[in-house]
């Protein structure tokens, strides 16, 4: 197999990045999308998507935390005592979440107020813990970073789509700029409220699954 894959710095041309790297990326962001397929992290996805800007920052936060925690869990995977591995994972995840929260509070105060407790709640986001347990514990650091990017991206993109349509339909704006004129478009307040998040997420997940197609053997 090695000769078919491009040589690579991290795996010495063993096909890790070219083969498994791409596969990991596709798996996390598309085939096994944490939000649309695994249905993880729904709580924050419903809560912060009332505006596109919030969704983007939240998606960025998740990518950052997922990459960092995957990297460190993977680096420490051979020396972490099995019995306390989950506590160690939570400590690592919490450190990066608080770090991000601190920077948000320092340099992006308004956003920090809007996202409220949801940045801190990334600590309990199943996606991050799930990737640390299921992937980073068994895989080398670089591949774990790829997995972190893939899953973070899978979450962030869906969040951005939901946020885009909720802001567009709910207030006729995109990133705060009026797009749909209030002369002919009556903003649908429902989309801003929590029920609107459910409807929009349902639609997005349905469309995602239609595009992805059924989970047949050849599709996997």
């Amino acid at each position: 197999m090695a000769d078919k894959q491009p040589a690579c710095m991290t795996c010495g041309g063993q096909g890790l990045c070219g083969g498994r790297g791409l596969l990991t990326l596709k798996e996390g962001a598309w085939k096994n999308n944490p939000l649309a397929i695994q249905m993880l992290g729904i709580c924050s996805a419903l809560a912060v998507t009332n505006r596109l800007e919030n969704s983007l920052v939240m998606g960025g936060a998740l990518i950052f935390v997922c990459v960092c925690s995957n990297l460190f869990v993977s680096l420490l995977r051979n020396i972490t005592p099995h019995r306390i591995r989950m506590i160690a994972e939570v400590a690592i995840i919490a450190t990066f979440v608080i770090l991000f929260d601190q920077f948000l509070k320092a340099f992006y105060w308004e956003m920090s107020k809007q996202l409220g407790p949801y940045v801190g709640l990334i600590i309990t986001n199943c996606i991050i813990m799930g990737r640390a347990e299921a992937f980073a514990l068994q895989n080398p650091p670089v591949l774990s970073i790829v997995d972190g990017i893939a899953n973070g991206l899978g979450y962030a993109v869906i969040l951005a789509i939901i946020g885009f349509f909720r802001e567009l339909l709910g207030s006729g704006e995109i990133l705060g700029y009026p797009v749909l004129s209030s002369e002919w478009y009556e903003a649908n307040q429902l989309m801003i409220l929590a029920p609107g998040a459910f409807f929009m997420m349902g639609v997005v997940i349905a469309v995602f699954n239609v595009l992805k197609g059924p989970d047949t053997e050849e599709n996997k």
Binding site: A91, I92, A106, K113
Partner: protein, 205 residues
């Protein structure tokens, strides 16, 4: 199986490393966070005193509006913020009083603005609270806060105290409508407001 001593020391080292990193970041961001929190506090005071300021305003402009219009002072355990629109006469137009106390889940902090008679409520704002979103968290909503405007902090006989009351009938001059489903939060708010109200009435009788 690795021994308990190894497990313990691993946990210790990992914990210390995380703690060190966070301490470093926290002390690095502290000045920025404090400046933001201070600007936010000042914005709240300006809003509750109904001091006019432009909607899109930078932190520096906000601070300068605050410094020209508002005089801070402490008296008898009260933090007062006097709105002095006319710099020459130094006459108050309104006074905001800081209050804080325990809510249902965490501390509640805010400002109560009074007209110059020191009895009529001009406005109220909460700048820090951790109440249940959608229930107790509604204390920050406009409709709840507007319920305070024009009310008195004393009853007809001059006895200090405000009553946050259910049933929709808020006829007395010191009664404010409660939030359905947030009785505990409203009780706490009533309690902490009355603590500060008693002090105000004692101070400014």
């Amino acid at each position: 199986m690795k021994g308990s001593a190894y497990t313990l020391s691993y946990a210790g080292v990992l914990g210390a490393a995380c703690a060190l990193l966070l301490t470093g970041v926290a002390s690095f961001t502290a000045p920025y966070r404090n400046a933001n929190a201070d600007a936010d506090r000042k914005r709240n005071i300006l809003a509750v005193l109904q001091v006019p300021y432009p909607e899109k305003v930078s932190s520096e402009e906000l601070v300068s509006v605050f410094e020209t219009n508002v005089r801070e002072e402490k008296s008898g355990g009260l933090e007062l913020y006097r709105y002095v629109p006319d710099q020459d006469s130094e006459a108050d137009e309104a006074v905001a009083v800081h209050f804080e106390g325990p809510g249902l889940w965490g501390p509640i902090k805010g400002f109560l603005a009074l007209d110059t008679d020191m009895r009529t409520i001009r406005g109220i704002t909460f700048y820090e609270q951790e109440e249940t979103p959608g229930l107790g968290g509604e204390i920050v909503s406009d409709w709840f806060r507007r319920g305070f405007e024009g009310k008195k902090i004393v009853d007809e006989s001059g006895e200090p105290g405000i009553i946050i009351k259910g049933g929709g009938e808020t006829n007395a001059i010191n009664e404010v409508d409660t939030i359905s489903g947030a009785t505990m939060t409203c009780d706490k708010v009533e309690e902490l407001l009355n603590t500060v109200i008693v002090k105000i009435v004692k101070e400014k009788s």
